[in-house]
Each structure stands twice: as C-alpha cells, then as structure tokens.
C-alpha cells in the first residue's frame, strides 16, 4: 500500500503543489512568453510589449470589475453592452450635440455606473441571480445604445478625443497609464479597505458576513457599481481607439473578462481572488491574441486556443489544489 513520494521537477510533490498553487499562473505566463518568443522573435520587442499592454487595457478594466462581481459569488454579463452604450452616448453628445469632451465622458461614465448600481441593487435587494439580472439588463442596455445612436455609427472626429488612446507620456501610451492606475486602485480597494474585506467575506460565506454585521445590499450594490464604472472607462478608451460610436461593439467582451479572472485564480465559489493574478490572466489572454497574430495563425484558432488554455489552466489549478485530500 505504501506510496513513494513522487518527485516533480526535483521538488517534493507537496512542495511543487504549493508552489504551483501560489505562482502557477505566473509560470504559465512565462512559459507562454518563452514559447511565443521562440516561434516569433519580434514578439520580444519593446514596442510589441507596449502594443499588447495598450490593447489589453480595455479588457483589464472590464476584468477588474468582473473579478469583484465573481468574488461576491456573482457575475456581470452586462459589461459588453455597457461599452456600447457609453460609446453611443459619447458619439451623440460630442459629434451631434457639440458637447465638450470632459462633460461628455463624465455623463457617459455616470450612466454606466448607474446601470451597475441598478444591477447590484436588483441582485442584493431582491436576492435575484446575478446571471439572470445582468443577462436581462444587458439586453436593455444594448437596446438603449441603439436608441441613442439611432442604429448608425457616429464618427467622432475630435482630435483631442482620439488622443485618449494615442497620447503618450514618454514611451507609455495613455491607456497603459490608466491600466497602471486602475491596478493600483483595485489592489488597494480589495486588500486595504473595509469594502474589500466585505467583498471577500460576502463571497466566501454570506450568512456569516450578515451575522458579522456586514450589509449585503451596500456591498453588492457597490460591487456592481464599480463594475459599471470600470466598463464605462473601458468604453471611453475603446471609443477613442475606433474614433466612432457604434451600438454593436463589445459583444462577447464579458467572455474575455471572465477568462482573465478564472485564469487569475478567481473562484466561482466566491471569496477568492487576487489583483496580481487577474492582471496576469489579462496578459495571458492578450498574448494569445498577439502571439498568434504574429505567428500568423487564423483567428478561428485564436478562439479555440483561448478556450483550451482556460480549461487547461483551471484543470491544472484543480489538480494542484485538490482540497479534499
């Protein structure tokens, strides 16, 4: 019956398990980068790295909001539609109504935050399933976007507005600065504030959180409001990138966000996530797109690869962190 301790990569099986549990996602990211570098040396160049970081900034905003929602045992499926609504509001206000850029952005983000608040309130006050609530509001928000834009693309020609995507501070484009700022803020919010503690407590054990005096309504409403706010920011960056307001953008964006969260160790059972993990998840998704483009693989295969990588990563995580043994 006696089992010999197996050795994996020269480590005790147990040690290896703990190492991978903590740093597994980083290891996967590194292996990926090395692999793509070998296949296509251009991948390693500084300009390509800046390029990837700029591209992922949009998904990063959405993923940070998503990781909050998932950590409270929920999900926010409305983010893709929020992107579209924000885009259409910006187009309508800037191009058709002649508003200034700042007020237009403020209004657009306020609207997306309000929708996030509505999601959170419905979920917490009436104890509705987050999946159902955000699936439904997503339809309403997408419809609103079509109403606002009149069903047509509105070009935004304002050069300053386009700068939001293209302006640089030294070698660093503005979206990367937003990404860095959002990462720091999210880290502080989750790990250094009362609200972060409440998010974890509510997600891990809602009953115990209530019994400890935590307000579920406040916590969850704020969670979805933040998700809505971040989706708004993502919408502004996206619209600046395309210089056009369209009601059909952002379709399927929630998938990439969920994928980044899951890769980053966010548990669908709630109560477990880390900001550095999610950030690495975001980059893994980014590298899949970028690497395969560079190598010259068809986009069909990108989608398939993404699916396979997610299942593989989660499977690895399950095997590494077998809880019941």
């Amino acid at each position: 019956m006696a089992k010999k301790e197996e050795k994996v990569l020269g480590m005790d099986r147990e040690k290896f398990r703990m190492f991978m549990g903590k740093y597994g996602i980083g290891v996967i990211l590194l292996i990926m980068m090395v692999f793509i570098s070998i296949m296509e040396p251009a991948f390693r160049s500084g300009s390509n790295m800046v390029n990837v970081a700029t591209q992922v900034s949009i998904n990063a905003m959405i993923a940070y909001g998503m990781c909050l929602a998932i950590t409270t045992e929920g999900i926010d499926l409305s983010v893709g539609a929020q992107l579209a609504l924000v885009s259409c509001i910006l187009g309508q206000l800037i191009s058709n109504k002649g508003w200034g850029i700042i007020p237009a952005i403020v209004v657009a983000i306020l609207v997306s935050t309000a929708w996030g608040t509505i999601n959170g309130f419905l979920i917490s006050k009436f104890n509705m399933f987050p999946f159902v609530v955000t699936l439904s509001t997503q339809l309403i928000i997408r419809g609103l976007a079509q109403v606002v834009s009149g069903g047509q693309a509105i070009p935004i020609t304002d050069a300053t507005f386009k700068q939001i995507y293209s302006a640089k501070l030294g070698p660093i484009p503005f979206p990367i600065l937003v990404l860095i700022l959002a990462t720091i803020l999210m880290y502080l919010v989750l790990h250094w504030t009362k609200f972060g503690r409440y998010v974890f407590a509510v997600g891990d054990n809602m009953q115990a959180a209530i019994a400890s005096g935590v307000s579920i309504i406040k916590t969850k409403t704020a969670t979805y409001a933040i998700s809505g706010f971040l989706a708004g920011v993502a919408g502004v960056i996206f619209t600046a990138k395309t210089a056009s307001a369209q009601s059909n953008i952002g379709v399927g964006y929630e998938t990439d966000a969920v994928a980044a969260c899951v890769l980053g160790g966010t548990s669908f059972a709630g109560g477990v996530t880390t900001v550095p993990g999610v950030l690495m998840g975001i980059f893994i998704i980014g590298f899949i797109y970028n690497g395969m483009n560079l190598i010259g693989i068809d986009s069909y295969y990108q989608s398939m690869t993404k699916g396979a990588v997610i299942i593989g990563a989660v499977l690895l995580d399950m095997v590494m962190n077998k809880k019941n043994s």
């Binding site: 019956m1 006696a2 089992k3 147990e14 502080l188 250094w192 504030t193 009362k194 503690r197 409440y198 974890f200 407590a201 891990d204 054990n205 009953q207 115990a208 959180a209 209530i210 019994a211 400890s212 005096g213 935590v214 307000s215 548990s267 109560g271 477990v272 043994s325």
Partner: protein, 506 residues
Amino acid sequence: MAEEMKKKEEYVLECHGISKAFGGTQALKDVELLVRAGEVHALLGENGAGKSTLMKCIIGLHQQDEGTIQFEGKPYAVKGPVEALNAGISMIHQELNPEPHLSIAETIFLKREDTRGILLNKKAQNERAEEILRKFDFPHSAKTLMKELTLAQMQMVEIIKAVSCNARLIIMDEPTSSLDSEETEHLFRTIRDLKAKGVAIIYISHRMEEIFQICDHVSVFRDGTYVGERSMEGVTRDELISMMVGRKVENVFPKTDCEIGDVVFKVEGLTGKGFENISFEVRKGEILGISGLVGSGRSETMRGIFGMDPITGGKLYLEGKEIKIKKPSQAIKQGICMVNEDRKNFGLALHRSIRENMALPTLPLKQKAPLLNKKQEEKDCLDMGKLLTLKAASIEHEAFSLSGGNQQKVVLAKWLLANPKVLILDEPTRGVDVGAKSEIHSLMCQFAAKGMAVIMISSELPEVMGMSDRILIYHEGKINGEVKREEILSGDEDQESILRRAFGGK
C-alpha cells in the same frame, strides 16, 4: 462455554498497524481497532487525534499508507463509500447532506432504484420504502421530501438506508450533536435494536455520558496514535479523560464565583417566530445559562435579540435605556455580540485568513481611515490569539486549516475584539475537543470576571449546570422555570428536575 468465549471474541472489523500521512503530517501512526460483531464501539479522542482519518480509511475516502483492514475475517480494501456500502460498511456523517428535493423513498434507494425497463418504478419503490419505514416506526410517509424532515429524522433515514443495504457495520460520527434529549433517546433505542440484530456500530462522540450509556467498548486515540481499548464496565470517566489528554483534568467545569453587578441587559415580553413573551434580565459578571430542548425557542430568541430574525413584539433595554435592533450591525454597535451555534454557516469565512475573520465585525468600529491600519489590526489579532491560546502557525492562514476547537476560538476572538457588554454564546463548545472545551469554559469565567454579561445556550445539561449562575429553562417557546446556582450546589435542583421542566413539567 469455550465456544461462547470464542464467539465473543469474534471481530467483525480488524484494523492492524494503520498509518497515514498527509504531506509532512503523520495523521495516523500504527493504529489498531478491533470491533466485535453486534457491539457499540466508542472512539474517543480530542479533535485531530485521528478518529476521522481512520474512519475515512475504512470507508475508502482515504487509502492508508501501511497496515491491513479485515472485515468479517476477509481482507478488505475499498475505493470509496459506495464500495464500502456494498461490502457492508456504512457511515452516517456528522453533517448530513441530503438532497432536499428527493423523497424519503428516493433517498433510501438512491443509486439502486426500482426500475421497469429504463423507467423508474416509483410505486414499487414507495411500497418497499413504506414497509421499511414501518419497521422503524417512522412518522412520515415514504413520499415525504427530505427538506420537510427534522435533522433527527434525516439522520434516521440515513440509518434506515444503511440497514436496508444490509450494512453489518455502521459508523456514526457525532450522531447526537444536533439532537435534543428526546431525539437522542430515540436514536439510542434504534442503536440497541440494531445491536440485537447483530449490527456493529462505531460510535464517535465527545459526550462522555452517552458513551457510558450506550457503548460496550471504547478505543482511545491521542495525536494519531492508539492509546488502548477498555471495556465500558469498570472504566471511569477520569481514566478515559486522562488517556485522551495524557494528563489529569482536574475539574471539568472551572466555574469561578465573581462579583455580580447591576442589570446590564433586560428583555421584556419578547415575541417572534418560535418564542413568545420572553422576559429576563442579565447582570454584569453573570453567566446566564439557557437550557431546553433543541427547537424550544432558545436559539430563536437569541437570534431575534441579535437582529438575525425579525421580532414581532417586546422591548430590549441596555443599561436601562430602551434599544432597537433590526440587524446585527446595530446589535454590535450597542455592544451585544453573538456566537452562533452553526459555526460553518454563520461563524467563519473558511477560505479567508484568521486575521480577516477576526477583524470583520469590528472593522467599522476600529478602522476609521480610508485605508486599513493593518499594524494595529495585527496586534489586536495576535493579542487575542494569545489570550485564547489559539493554536495556529500564523494569523494569515486560512480558517479551514484549523481544528474545530481553534476555529471556535477564532469565532470567539472576533466578538471579543468588539469588547461586548453582552456576549451571547449559542452552543459554544459544540464539536470542540475536551481540551479546548475546558479552555473555552475558563475563558467564559474570565469574561464574566471582567464585567461582561454572558448568556450561554447549551444542550449539554452538565455544562449548563456547571457553568451558570442562573439557568432559564425553555419549553415550547416559553420560559418554564429558573434555577439558581445555589440550588444546584445545595442539591435542591438536579439534572432530573431541569429536564422535567424542559419537557413541560413543574
């Protein structure tokens, strides 16, 4: 005569030299267990002594590293509970996890349904189930859904299922931990019936009285090793406790008399779901015991006071002033805290760290700045850990890595950090090992000595009687009598008289 002797020593289950390690920790070291046919065999040991690990080896949830198991004289090795059940061994877990939407019949015949072709034959299955239920005098029909049963009844269904699978050995893990006295009595009758039919039972419990009442032999474990086996006849409680802990436990209840001051908290005519017109008061430095059967409204009253459930009438007074509590956060702010009886569901966020759990209820009180003051928090948690003699490698470890007793200490810590005026403890020592239990008892005395008013609900009569200055006895949602410590010490009141009141007598 010789033949009878031989029969008596016939073992249904023989475990020899079982060892099991998880990573670096040796959970079992060369352990023995011999169970005779038709006996009730107790397993005794502090939490973490290795009882559960051994049971999991027997039902195939773990595979032992070394050692052999023989069942009914034949070598026995199974890969899981289903195989174990087919071989004749069933385990009734402490925390039952029934499928709430299945009927009793469907539960009993799960995975071995009556079929007609590819379709279920519900009628035949229900009839068969009814027949079995009748044998056990079960008060519900086979079509009743599991969610409509009480915990005790769910447990009985599990036992009935085991018997109907022709189990010759049933393992019961803390079967009485959520049962009241009457239900326990009923369980014991069932156990005796099973015994008479030749079914052997392994009985795991922390409740010494029960072991003396129902068991024939006891095997004692300590720190993953096998200490020894004793016959229940001729062994004393003190002897068993010292085998378990390896040291003499002097007094089981360390109740100290401390000065009792003014009334801190008063309840007048409190009414809600499961209790009505409850009035009592509790003073500074007093430990108020609440006794009564499970479901008599004890926990419901306290949950109402703490704002977990709505109350429909009555008034609460704290230090003479009327207060209103609609949710737990209001209670905490006023200085009323409650340790819930259900640690897993209401006590801890198991995947979060000890630190986060401890600090949670007092975040609004102690953390006023936008960012957390983690230094102060760490100091508070470490001090509290020291006070409660919490055994943990670090406060950053997740709560689920702790033993039951240490988890309970974390729950206590989170409320003590709020420095409460009134501390409500609902079954504070449930599922906690002997050592931690007596530590929690001394802590309660320390809190009282500091001027806290302690309200303790307990289903264990010796605990209530040993720890309380005053005992309120609940019967069907009302208070049916009050007993003072002096009356217990003088012998005017005893277990019987309290139990009589709990059953509605005078």
